[in-house]
């Protein structure tokens, strides 16, 4: 091979082939050869090109779809000035899920998260549904996160804050923002755009970021306490200059400014930018960004309206349909969410989110056979979904659909694919259910114990162990287990109700009453709880 590719071309080829590690290295070599490699000037087009390429490659390495990402630090959550007052009309706020619309499965059938909503079939790094109501809840969230939302929704922030550059530039930041002349860059659109994306996704404004100092540890989990807003100021400055340079006619810069405002928590300003951009250039992505703003402002109906209008202009657009479905799900309107997910599937039958959500709806509506069809679809495997969650779900669906031969192999595979102990714990927990289903209570007991061995905070396992202990007549053990369960997961009605029933049985009516009230709070429509409270009140009312 005598022909050697032109180095820039080589670097470009790497980029195209998504070899994001190799590309920047090649570019660096190029840049070293030219003077002033940190600050490309208009005369050196090769180094400009190399600079842009390297910038973009580094960005790609840590790029995540911005639309999908929605993260906050605790303090922001708590000090959110945009938090809407508690009194919103039912059905108009995301914070008040209210009762489920028209017959979705109740908590007696389908587990709920700490916000009182049923667990979904799909999880994104978004915080809305997991938003804790109080500071105490917020701090406790990481430990019980597994029933509510994934760890990374909180720690994604942790990743971004300074670590991105750690991954891409262990030696030190490639671009030193404090030495950049932003005004100059603003005048060169191509450079400006690459630079903007780099800043936005790297957030390495802070020099020598020491992870531990910017991140607090609560329990075992890192938790960002605040967003470093100054990071976005730089990006914003650049964008402001650039958009001015473009005489406010470049919709792309408006969107970027909107994104900066969004990250800075200035949602109304963000809204203005996105709307303006939309007027200039109707883009689905812009619609999606704008919807996120409405989401943050707790205006789900406005977001819905926006999406539906968007569908007029972009009929059948999957991301819009999906957006609508998500909003309905957040508003706890499972039937409508399901309808829109079905629309999504009509357009794109490989859509993992839709498949997962519809599948889980079917499972919890007594249709495990249909759920099985969804989870078993070859599409999921084709899309590269081959993980613990999928096989766990397959196993459960098989069992309840009476395909017993597949049940254990699927669950075994789920165990082998578990990436951490929490995932393994959940699989053991479900194995416990299978054991109950075949009537082998000893095996069930072992499985629930194994659940706890993997995850000492698994509230459901504590509860179920308590039930098994009661069957064996071990009242004291059951009581202790239930107390643990209810303190770990106060939003779950089962431990409260069980504790109330147990206390009632031994005649401790005060404790029974208190626990029954908690059960009612978690699940107001639970008939057995209502009856227990009625009985207890009768006891209290008698003179």
């Amino acid at each position: 091979t005598g022909l050697e590719m032109e180095p820039l071309l080589q670097a470009w080829s790497c980029f195209r082939r998504r070899k994001f590690q190799l590309c920047p290295d090649l570019c660096s070599q190029l840049l070293e050869k030219s003077p002033g490699h940190q600050e490309p000037d208009s005369e050196f087009t090769v180094s400009q090109a190399a600079w842009i390429l390297k910038t973009r490659a580094l960005t790609e390495m840590v790029y995540v779809d911005e639309i999908d990402v929605d993260q906050e630090g605790i303090a922001e959550m708590m000090l959110d000035e945009n938090a809407i007052a508690q009194v919103a009309r039912p059905g108009t706020s995301l914070k008040l899920p209210g009762t489920s619309h028209g017959g979705g499965p109740t908590p007696a059938v389908r587990p709920v998260t700490q916000s009182g909503r049923p667990i979904t079939g799909f999880v994104r790094p978004s915080t809305q549904s997991g938003r804790p109501g109080t500071m105490e809840q917020a701090i406790r969230t990481p430990r019980t996160a597994h029933t509510a939302r994934p760890i990374t929704s909180a720690s994604g922030r942790y990743v971004r804050l300074g670590t991105a550059s750690m991954l891409t530039n262990p030696e030190g930041p490639f671009i030193n923002l404090s030495r950049l002349n932003l005004a100059k860059y603003a005048q060169k659109p191509k450079l400006a755009k690459a630079l903007f994306e780099y800043i936005f996704h790297h957030e390495n404004d802070v020099k020598n970021v020491n992870l531990r100092s910017t991140v607090a540890h609560i329990g075992e989990y890192p938790f960002t306490l605040f967003t470093s807003k100054s990071i976005y100021k730089n990006a914003l400055d650049l964008a402001a200059l650039a958009t001015e340079h473009a005489q406010y006619k470049d919709w792309w810069w408006k969107v970027q400014i909107g994104k900066c405002y969004y990250r800075l928590g200035l949602y109304r300003e963000a809204e203005k930018q996105f709307k303006s951009a939309l007027k200039q250039q109707d883009m689905v992505d812009t619609i999606l960004y704008l919807a996120k703003v409405y989401f943050r402002l707790d205006q789900p109906l406005t977001a819905l309206h926006l999406f539906k209008q968007g569908l007029d202009r972009f009929p059948g657009e999957v991301t819009l349909l999906c957006g609508i479905a998500r909003i309905y799900e957040e508003m706890n309107n499972i039937p409508l969410a399901a309808e829109y997910y079905r629309e999504v599937l009509k357009q794109d039958n490989t859509h993992v989110e839709a498949i997962a959500c519809i599948g889980s709806n079917h499972f919890y509506s007594d249709q495990p056979e249909i759920a099985l069809r969804f989870y078993r679809t070859r599409r999921l495997l084709q899309m590269g979904v081959y993980n613990c969650q999928l096989f766990n779900n397959l196993g459960l669906c098989c069992f309840y659909a009476q395909q017993y031969d597949m049940t254990l192999t699927s669950l075994e595979r789920a165990l082998s694919l578990a990436e951490n102990e929490e995932e393994a714990a959940d699989v053991w927990y479900n194995l416990g259910h299978v054991a109950v289903g075949i009537g082998d209570l000893n095996l069930a007991y072992q499985c629930f114990k194994l659940t706890l061995a993997n995850n000492n905070d698994h509230a459901e396992a504590y509860n179920n162990l308590a039930v098994l202990e009661m069957r064996r007549g071990h009242v004291e053990q059951a009581r202790a287990l239930l107390q643990t369960a209810s303190s770990l997961a106060p939003h779950m009605y089962e431990p409260h109700f069980n504790f109330a029933a147990l206390s009632d049985q031994v005649g401790d009516l005060q404790r029974s009453y208190i626990a029954a009230q908690k059960s009612k709070e978690a699940f107001p429509d639970h008939v057995d709880t209502q009856q227990l409270i009625k009985q207890l009140k009768q006891h209290f009312a008698m003179l």
Binding site: T106, A108, V109, D366, Y400, Q402, Y404, H433, V436, G437, I438, G439, D440, L441, R471, S503, V506, G507, D508, L509, Q510, R511, Y513, I514, Q517, V527, L536, K537, H539, F540, A541, L543
Partner: protein, 519 residues
């Protein structure tokens, strides 16, 4: 309030009326359930009297109890006792608080103290009985409750006494107690339903129906009564009527496993197997330990010839209910059809050993043995079956499943036992299928199909009676109730059989008339 009046008056003459008035106010607010106003008045009173006003403290304690703050109320009642040590009532309240906190021993002690001050207090006796019950001193409890009844009859006391008999496993005595209770308080749906359920347990269907029906007249949507009554209707083949009843309650009890179980079996009775399985699986999801649901799932799947699934459900059921012969029989059927003859035989052996009454078990075993070429074994089982049939015919007359009769005759013929003497009556109308243990009329007075409908109708009109309760003693409205249902059910064993239906219905009519008159 009385204690205030007894205090010497000299210096506080002008204030006393205010205190009295405020006590009256507290009392009024409490009676009217204006608890907020009540609390305000109490606070004022306590400020005025520096916490020494017994009545105010007393009512505050009551309020705490209503709110479920038993510990606080206990402390206040104790204060009352200190303020007025001669009041039996205060001691009773202290004791009751202890009881509500589950401190039964301590409660008994305080009740005994109270008894010293007031010997003939039925409440003290009653509560002593209840505390003893929790401590499992059943004999003591029974004595005390009986004492209470002698002093003053009360629904609750009867209910407690009945409960103790049940805890001891003495169903007959329990029934006696509940009967007296129902006599005393004929409109108490709780008592009526409990009694009805007990009769149902004993197989005394007429009495069961009577009491359940009554309960439904006073409370047409009474879940317990509907569940029990519905199951009776199903037993008699009235699936549609049962379904209508169940649908009413299903709205208020959307996740009740027994309800879904029964609904599923209604569909089974109507041969709608897919619907049956849906309902049963839902019931099973909600109540995975319930062996009956698993039994039914097994049965339905056997009927649908889905033997692997049937096996799954039946083996689970056996884990929860290991001593039920019929389950092993069903399991054996599944195994037979899954071609596991050895285990099928073992299962039948187990079934026959555990269930010595049901002829179906031995018949099916005979079938298996015959098909496997074991004539001798088959014959043995066949004879066993004959024995069981005879025993059943002697103790009560019943209809056998015609399919069973038919198969038995075939087996007999195949084994060449000659003309079977067992089956003396002609094959019954196919609608009148009964479980082997359910007693019913002999064939000679075969009940017309209509009478089953009469049961359903009677139940329906009984359930609908509640709506027309406002009518005065109109003949039309009350007619369905005053006559006992015209069910030709076999009278159950019991001394008071013949006279009581008319007697008690007379009494009921009187009571109803007087009640309606006073409204």
């Amino acid at each position: 309030m009385a204690t205030e009046l007894q205090k010497p008056r000299p210096r506080k003459v002008p204030e006393l009326p205010i205190l009295e008035r405020r006590n009256w106010l507290i009392h009024l607010h409490y009676i009217r359930k204006d608890y907020d106003a009540c609390k305000i008045a109490i606070k004022e009173q306590l400020q005025e009297t520096q916490g020494m006003c017994e009545y105010a403290v007393y009512v505050q304690a009551l309020l705490f109890r209503l709110e479920g703050k038993i510990q606080e109320s206990l402390e206040l009642f104790q204060t009352c006792s200190i303020l007025n040590p001669l009041s039996a009532d205060n001691l009773k309240q202290v004791a009751r608080s202890l009881f509500l906190l589950g401190k039964h021993k301590a409660a008994i002690e305080v009740y005994n103290e109270a008894a010293k001050l007031n010997q003939k207090d039925w409440e003290i006796c009653h509560n002593l009985g209840v505390c003893s019950m929790y401590l499992k001193h059943f004999n003591k409890a029974k004595d005390q409750l009986n004492n209470a009844l002698q002093l003053h009859r009360h629904d609750l006391t009867y209910a407690m006494l009945g409960k103790i008999h049940l805890l001891e496993g003495d169903t007959d005595k329990a029934i006696e107690v509940y009967k007296k209770a129902v006599e005393f308080s004929p409109e108490n749906t709780e008592l009526l339903t409990t009694l009805g359920l007990l009769y149902l347990q004993l197989g005394a269907y007429q009495k069961a129906f009577e009491h359940l029906g009554n309960a439904l007249t006073y409370d047409p949507s009474n879940y317990k009564a509907i569940l029990a009554a519905g199951s009776m209707m199903q037993t008699h083949g009235d699936f549609d009527v049962a379904l209508t009843k169940y649908r009413v309650v299903a709205h208020t009890m959307p996740e009740s496993p027994p309800l879904w179980n029964n609904i599923g079996m209604c569909f089974f009775g109507k041969k709608k197997y897919v619907a049956a399985i849906s309902c049963l699986k839902r019931a099973n999801y909600l109540a995975p330990f319930d062996w009956k649901i698993l039994y039914n799932l097994g049965l339905v799947h056997l009927t649908m010839q889905q033997y692997a699934s049937a096996f799954h459900f039946l083996s689970a059921a056996v884990n929860f209910q290991p001593r039920m012969g019929e389950l092993y029989m069903l399991l054996a059927v599944a195994l037979t059809n899954l071609e596991d003859v050895e285990n099928a035989k073992r299962s039948y052996e187990q079934a026959v050993a555990l269930d010595k009454c049901n002829p179906l078990v031995t018949l099916n075993y005979a079938v298996l043995l015959y098909n496997q070429g074991d004539q001798k074994g088959a014959l043995g089982q066949y004879h066993e079956m004959e024995k069981r049939v005879n025993t059943l015919k002697e103790s009560s007359t019943l209809d056998f499943d015609p399919e069973m009769v038919d198969m038995a005759q075939k087996v007999g013929a195949a084994l060449q036992v000659g003309e079977s003497l067992v089956w003396t009556k002609p094959v019954k109308d196919s609608k009148l299928k009964q479980r082997a243990t359910a007693p019913s009329k002999p064939s000679s007075t075969q009940q017309p199909l209509g009478s089953n409908q009469a049961l359903g109708q009677a139940m329906s009109s009984a359930a609908g009676y509640g709506k027309t309760l406002q009518l005065s003693t109109g003949a039309g409205a009350s007619a369905p109730l005053t006559k006992p249902p015209s069910l030709p059910l076999e009278p159950e064993p019991g001394p008071e059989e013949t006279t009581s239906p008319t007697e008690s219905q007379e009494r009921r009519r009187e009571k109803r008339k007087s009640r309606l008159a006073t409204e």
